[in-house]
Amino acid sequence: MGRIENRIRRLRFDHNEMTQEELANRAGCTRQTIIALEQNKYVPSIELAFKIARAFSVPLEEVFQYEDS
């Protein structure tokens, strides 16, 4: 079974060290969900994934990657 990885933490730092709170506000979720995402303990819905990518102004694939195991 594959695994979905993300680069949210890296992208936050690349975007002037955007805080988790700020990203959560932009993506319309709670800070706890951003924390869970960064720890790879939650896989977001397609809608939230797009919102996060939009918050960084990057394509979806730059934030989330599907990795075969």
Partner: protein, 145 residues
């Protein structure tokens, strides 16, 4: 701690306190006096209405009025919580069935007050189990993802 998780924890603590108070009232007073003692009945009504009200205020109103505090992950956890609720309710009914059968089988009849107690305990357990289900949902998600 997520806002919903905090509310679930608070409602579980308050609900447990009310449930314990309910048990204490029944243990310290004569159960047969329930039918005749109005004061006894009023205390019990206040306590068992209190648990669902606490649950309603702390958990359900969060979902309805403060949508910013509840996102898709919280909703996923809330949607899974009823599994714990159903298991708890079924377990409660099985316990009542077993205990009352054992105690009253020979007499062939039950004191009517037990019908009230079964209803009260099922409602209280149901409310507490939803809070517990939410907390278990967060714990499992933080542990396993």
């Amino acid at each position: 701690m997520a806002p919903l998780q905090k509310r679930a924890l608070i409602s579980l603590v308050i609900g447990l306190a009310l449930a314990i108070a309910l048990i204490v009232v029944f243990v310290t007073r004569d159960i047969n006096a329930y039918a005749t003692d109005l004061g006894f009945r009023l205390i019990v009504y206040a306590l068992w209405v209190g648990v669902p009200v606490v649950y309603l205020l702390l958990i359900n109103l969060t979902r309805l009025t403060k949508l910013k505090q509840v996102d898709e992950r919280d909703r996923l956890i809330m949607d899974r919580a009823p599994k714990i609720q159903w298991l708890s309710v079924i377990f409660t009914l099985v316990v009542w069935y077993t205990v009352l059968n054992d105690l009253y089988w020979d007499q062939g009849q039950l004191p009517v007050v037990y019908l009230t107690l079964i209803l009260i305990s099922t409602l209280v357990i149901s409310a507490l189990a939803e809070s517990l289900g939410i907390l278990i949902g967060y714990w499992r998600m933080n542990r396993n993802g």
